[in-house]
């Protein structure tokens, strides 16, 4: 256990709404090894952000962590009081979000905002905090950092603002960085720069990272391990090569197949594979596997009981009782549940 910076076990988060109970996360569990990057992927609404907010104990009401253990550096965060938790946030665990505009205060200069975080957490005098601010902005390769520190957020481009967010997140030397879609709002050329920067800084600062993204390209380039979420559950997790080369949950397989890829020779007009149907409502999850109604491999047992995480090998697991046959055309019981087999618009 010592080599894991973070261990999440049996995490369940619910939103009690008038319409019923939304199970935003159900029995979520994963480890992040020291110095490693875990990517959390899955469609919109599958529970990625709620899972990461749970680690920070920042689930918005009426959401509530109903069960689970969150061990950070050996400490159970669920047992900390709110003051202890507040001190941990921004210092030992830092977070960056998709849209830097919503997390930066428009009426203060970016330098002031970074310096304030440093003053607060490191108890440094203003002048030292400012020097550190400029240094951090240089570390994230903002040209002319001393001057740009005096800019307001609106004076910076999207890529620059995301650099500022990264500088702020790293300014207090965190051990774990949670990055929720850090490059989704950026153009590809800027995204490439920011990802490169993050990879470099991760090594320099000896950081561990939880990276949330829906871009499988970003995952392939950045992650050591991958956890795939579907309808509030982790349905598969493993090393990045296990997931991409030997997907063992039908949802992961479908997800990987539906990505259009740049092809060597334009295989024009080919149909993309799709996963037919839609994600179930978290208010009313079906019994057993939530993916069963869309699954090409579904058998009766899938909906008769809860499906546990099944070990595929070593650190690779799948919540699928048919994990061993995923990828085998002959094992498909419902081949029609793929877009390739369909005609227009079904």
């Amino acid at each position: 256990m010592e080599d894991n910076i973070l261990t999440v076990k049996g995490l369940s988060v619910e939103f009690r709404m008038r319409a019923g109970v939304v199970k935003a996360a159900s029995d979520v569990g994963f480890d992040i090894e020291r110095g490693a990057t875990l990517a959390l992927v899955g469609e919109s609404g599958s529970g990625k952000s709620i899972t990461s907010l749970s680690i920070m104990r920042l689930v918005p009401p009426p959401g509530e962590i109903v069960s689970g253990e969150i061990l950070f550096n050996g400490r159970d965060l669920m047992k900390l009081d709110s003051e202890e938790m507040r001190r941990l946030r921004g210092s030992e665990i830092a977070m960056i979000f998709q849209d830097p505009m919503t997390s930066l205060n428009p009426v203060y200069t970016v330098g002031d905002q970074i310096a304030e975080a440093i003053e607060l957490h490191e108890r440094l005098p203003r002048s030292a905090a400012w020097a550190r601010t400029v240094e951090m902005m240089e570390r994230v390769r903002i040209p002319d950092a001393a001057r740009r520190a005096k800019d307001y957020p609106y004076q910076l481009s999207g890529g620059m603002r995301q650099r500022v967010m990264i500088a702020m997140a790293l300014s207090c030397n965190p051990r774990l960085l949670i990055a929720d879609e850090p490059t989704t709002a950026l153009d590809v050329t800027i995204q490439a720069e920011i990802l490169e920067l993050m990879r470099g800084l991760k090594d320099d600062f000896d950081l561990s990272m939880l990276l949330i993204t829906h871009d499988l390209g970003v995952v392939a380039e950045t992650a050591d391990r991958v956890a795939v979420m579907y309808a509030g559950r982790i349905v598969e997790q493993g090393g990045v090569r296990d997931i991409f080369h030997n997907p063992s949950h039908p949802y992961t397989e479908g997800l990987l197949r539906s990505v259009p890829r740049l092809t060597e020779e334009g295989m024009k007009r080919r149909r993309l594979d799709t996963i037919e149907g839609t994600v179930p409502s978290l208010l009313d999850l079906p019994r057993g596997c939530a993916f069963a109604p869309r699954c090409q491999y579904e058998i009766a047992e899938c909906t008769q009981r809860d499906i546990p995480m099944i070990t595929v090998n070593g650190g690779h697991g799948s919540r699928c009782i048919r994990a061993d046959v995923v990828g085998d055309e002959a094992a498909k019981t419902h081949p029609e549940r793929s877009g390739r087999a369909q005609t227009a618009g079904i």
Binding site: E43, G158, D187, H214, L262, E264, R270, D273, G345
Partner: protein, 331 residues
């Protein structure tokens, strides 16, 4: 730039669109945003022309100018042999039926207080098409065409998922039997697995109905998948136009190359050779002189600041605007 006049459905010549820049913000009243600055290309009947480029480069503005949703500052758009600028409002109105648009955001582009049937019927009502019963039948037909059910007509947009809402937007665009559809980032806000459903649907409809698309996107892999030809835009200019496979296998312009190399590849074992670009995208208010890409270009030479590069046909159907890799006079 066109080979065969009969084959061309939409021809764009020297299109410009300048917007007044926010005077309050910059303190100068006369500045203009050169959102689209002298671009020419043509879209052939039945093809999908992909328009790619980074945020703010002028893709949506181009699409809107073509449909005359906004007035171009200069240039001509010839649709099906008719110069749109020369048509009166009645003529334009008639042609509008043939040209439709699908928007990026399936959440905000549908009126939340209207039932889906009414949303799809609206263009028919506006253009006073058919009887009430005929329009109803058409709505059901359209719903089925995009993979929804007749019963969905009585529901509101919020009852649908993102992919389903995009299907509703597509049904609405198809209501008047258009020839040409501008698809402005139609899948960018959707999950990958849902993107694939919508892309397949667009391709099927194109085949069934003989549609022509202008497909706008910053997602290059989707564009590569769906397009026959592709134009790459940078800061209001087209820098390269070619068949899709030539763009993706034999890109010539340094910007196209950098853009392609920046796409993350969904394969952990892929070898990457990234061509880093220096600096940020300049603003379209005071774009760099000469070649607009020169401030970030790894190949820039002093002369790039002096003259604007012209489109040069480097091989049949493959056009590049770069003095360094495609000097004029060389063929």
């Amino acid at each position: 730039m066109t080979a065969n006049e009969n084959g061309t459905l939409v021809e764009v010549r020297g299109l410009k669109k300048y917007f007044p820049a926010g005077a309050a913000l910059f303190g100068v009243g006369s500045d203009e945003v050169k959102a689209v600055d002298d671009i020419s290309f043509s879209v052939r009947r039945g093809e999908t022309f992909g328009l790619v480029g980074e945020s703010g480069c002028g893709k949506s503005t181009t699409g809107r100018c073509i449909l005359r949703l906004i007035e171009p500052t200069a240039g001509r758009v010839i649709f099906d042999g008719q110069d749109l600028g020369a048509l009166g409002s009645a003529g334009l109105r008639r042609l509008r039926r043939d040209m439709q648009i699908i928007f990026q955001d399936p959440f905000s582009s549908l009126n939340p207080r209207m039932k889906v049937g009414r949303i799809i019927e609206e263009p028919l009502v506006i253009h006073r098409t058919g009887t009430k019963q005929k329009r109803r039948d058409r709505v059901v037909e359209l719903l089925k065409l995009v993979g929804l059910e007749a019963g969905h007509a009585g529901r509101y947009p919020h009852e649908f998922s993102g992919g389903q809402r995009q299907r509703i937007g597509i049904a609405r665009a198809l209501a008047l039997n258009p020839k040409f559809i501008v698809c402005d980032e139609p899948v960018s806000s959707l999950d990958v697995s849902v993107q694939a459903q919508v892309v397949n649907l667009l391709q099927d409809l194109q085949e069934q109905l003989g549609l022509t698309y202008l497909f706008i996107s910053h997602g290059l892999s989707v564009v590569e998948h769906i397009s026959t030809r592709v134009g790459i835009m940078y800061l209001g200019k087209l820098v390269e136009v070619a068949r899709s496979q030539d763009i993706f296998n034999d890109a010539q312009h340094p910007y196209t190359r950098a853009l392609l190399s920046a796409i993350p590849v969904p394969d952990p074992d892929a070898r990457r050779k990234r061509l880093a670009l220096a600096g940020d995208i300049p603003t379209a208010i005071n774009p760099p002189s000469g070649c607009r890409f020169r401030t970030r270009c790894p190949l820039a030479e002093p002369r790039c600041a002096e003259t604007e590069p012209q489109m040069v046909e480097v091989k049949p159907g493959h056009f590049v605007a770069c003095m360094v890799v495609a000097p004029e006079g060389k063929k």
